[in-house]
């Protein structure tokens, strides 16, 4: 699609240094938006020069509040918020400690709540906006040994719909993107915990109707659409992007 469709828009991307977050920042920058990448990570993950980096711990209410105030003073509004900050824990519930559980919920769910809570007033100043949350196909169907992660994504899906209902009248749209297998450091870690990586990768490709897994650029294309004016009637939905993976039933080897 043509470039420049986000010109004049102010966009905040949490988890902006992660695999998917970086892809989104790059795309937004290419489309002409003013992009702020917020992340707890400071060193890793190179960003395009035009993208502003802000350190953010989404679980820290004071930190979130202060960042929003600073952005509000600097830009006067916020048009686009992408909540991409998330972690995963590769454990069953018996292996998961209460601390693990509280930690993943703090980042994946509470963090989203806090960032949205303090971002909405600045979207109001923009006369509306688009919030894009990161759900997952794991919020619908589970991967083994990802119990707490799956639960956080289910919570994200419900929160997405709830916010869409509450803020629709103010022209703030809220949607979730639900990726399948995307080639990121998080996926490498998931593979790494399950034995021989190369065999596993081939298996995973084979099971996708499109015979590949996704890239951060694939996800950024959907996020870009949801952020822009082409999607003005889309709200409250969970947008699965998975190369056809979850359209099929479990694949048995016959």
């Amino acid at each position: 699609m043509s470039q420049g469709q986000l010109r004049g828009k102010i966009a905040l991307v949490t988890g902006g240094r992660g695999g998917i977050g970086r892809g989104i920042c790059e795309r937004f920058a290419k489309e002409g938006a003013t992009v702020i990448a917020a992340d707890i990570a400071q060193g890793e993950g190179a960003l395009p020069e035009s993208v502003h980096y802000e350190r953010l711990d989404v679980t820290d209410e004071d930190n979130v509040h202060a960042l929003m105030q600073a952005l509000g003073e600097k830009y006067g509004k916020l048009d686009i918020l992408v909540n991409a900050a998330a972690i995963e824990i590769e454990k069953t519930i018996e292996e998961t400690s209460l601390q693990d559980w509280n930690n993943i919920f703090a980042i994946n769910v509470t963090g989203m709540f806090l960032v949205c809570k303090y971002a909405v007033p600045f979207m109001r100043l923009a006369g509306g906006g688009s919030i894009i949350n990161f759900g997952s196909y794991d919020g619908f169907i589970a991967d083994p040994s990802l119990a707490a992660y799956c639960a956080t994504k289910g919570a994200v899906h419900a929160l997405t719909k709830a916010m869409a209902c509450d803020y629709g009248p103010e022209n703030i749209r809220v949607n979730a993107v639900c990726p399948g297998f995307i080639d990121t450091p998080m996926l490498q870690s998931f593979f790494g915990s399950s034995g021989d990586i190369d065999t596993l990768k081939e298996e995973v490709r084979r099971i996708h109707p499109m015979r590949r897994y996704g890239t951060p650029a694939d996800i950024a294309s959907l996020v870009n659409w949801l952020a822009g004016d082409e999607s003005v009637y889309a709200s409250g939905q969970l947008w699965i992007l998975d190369g056809g993976l979850t359209a099929q039933v479990q694949q048995m080897r016959l």
Binding site: M1, S2, T160, K161, A164, C165, Y167, G168, P169, N171, R173, H208, P209, M210, R211, G214, T215, D218, S221, L222, N224, W225, E230, S231, V232, Y233, A234, S235, G236, Q237, W239, I240, L241, D242, G243, G244, L245, T246, A247, Q248
Partner: protein
């Protein structure tokens, strides 16, 4: 914008309503378009569009559409199965002829168009099928029994094509519009005891505060046809202004 430069699209039922908005959007984005319908060529259809008068529930008519697109443009990249009809009746009120009409246009025609065109669509390795499903396939509209069922067929077929023909270079997705103000939707309101009150109530149930427009659907149809959605397949994408994200029980309305 020229997201569809060099692409050839078939949009069934492109004479008016949603189909017409898709035709216009595709043209504006550089595609060459063939459309078809049971009636004569609409007088206001842009000259660039090739029109074929056809009843797509008949195989010979589908074959005519195929040879016409290949003769006119030499290829086909995008198939939008948009043509649809509705009969506003419960199961006990529905006659055999009405069943044949609704299932013929909404179900059989989609099957026939896909079957006859998949090979041509997959030729360049990036074929796209976009079917018009409906939120009514997931949650029933009262007194629309066979229509609702026909749209559930479309959703099932969409998943199957994505799963079976992903390896043949074809992506297949469905768009599920909510209330889009077309002649078909007006007819739905006419069923109410008090159409004006029904419209007010329906409006209050939309988070974004308005009914959809054909252009809203065209925005999604453009994204799904473009390379920006290259990893999207096998999904039902809902575009309903937040309608089905909300619970039907809204005490504020009573």
């Amino acid at each position: 914008m020229s997201a569809l430069n060099g692409k050839v699209a078939i949009v069934t039922g492109g004479g008016r309503g949603i189909g017409r908005a898709v035709v216009d959007r595709y043209l504006a984005n550089g595609a060459q378009v063939l459309s078809c319908g049971r009636g004569k060529r609409p007088a206001d259809l842009p000259e660039a569009v090739v029109w074929v008068q056809a009843d797509l529930s008949r195989l010979e008519d589908v074959k005519r559409v195929r040879s016409s697109v290949l003769e006119s443009f030499g290829r086909v990249d995008i198939l939008v199965n948009n043509a649809g009809v509705q009969v506003e009746k419960t199961v006990t009120e529905t006659t055999d002829d009405e069943w044949d009409l609704v299932m013929g246009v909404n179900a059989k025609a989609v099957f026939l168009c896909c079957r006859e065109l998949i090979k041509d669509l997959g030729h360049a390795g990036a074929g796209v099928i976009i079917n018009l499903g409906s939120i009514s396939a997931n949650v029933a509209d009262p007194s629309m029994a066979i229509y609702n069922a026909s749209k559930a067929f479309v959703h099932g077929l969409t998943r199957s094509i994505a799963v079976d023909h992903g390896k043949d270079g074809v992506r297949c997705n469905a768009i599920c519009p909510g209330w889009i103000m077309t002649e078909m939707a007006e007819a739905g309101f006419d069923l109410a005891a008090n159409p004006q009150a029904a419209k007010r109530d329906a409006l209050a149930r939309h988070a974004v505060g308005r009914f959809g427009k054909p252009e809203d659907v065209a925005g999604l149809a453009l994204w799904l046809a473009s390379d920006d959605s290259a990893y999207a397949s096998g999904q039902m994408f809902v575009i309903d202004g937040g309608l089905t994200a909300a619970s039907p029980l809204q005490p504020g309305l009573f």
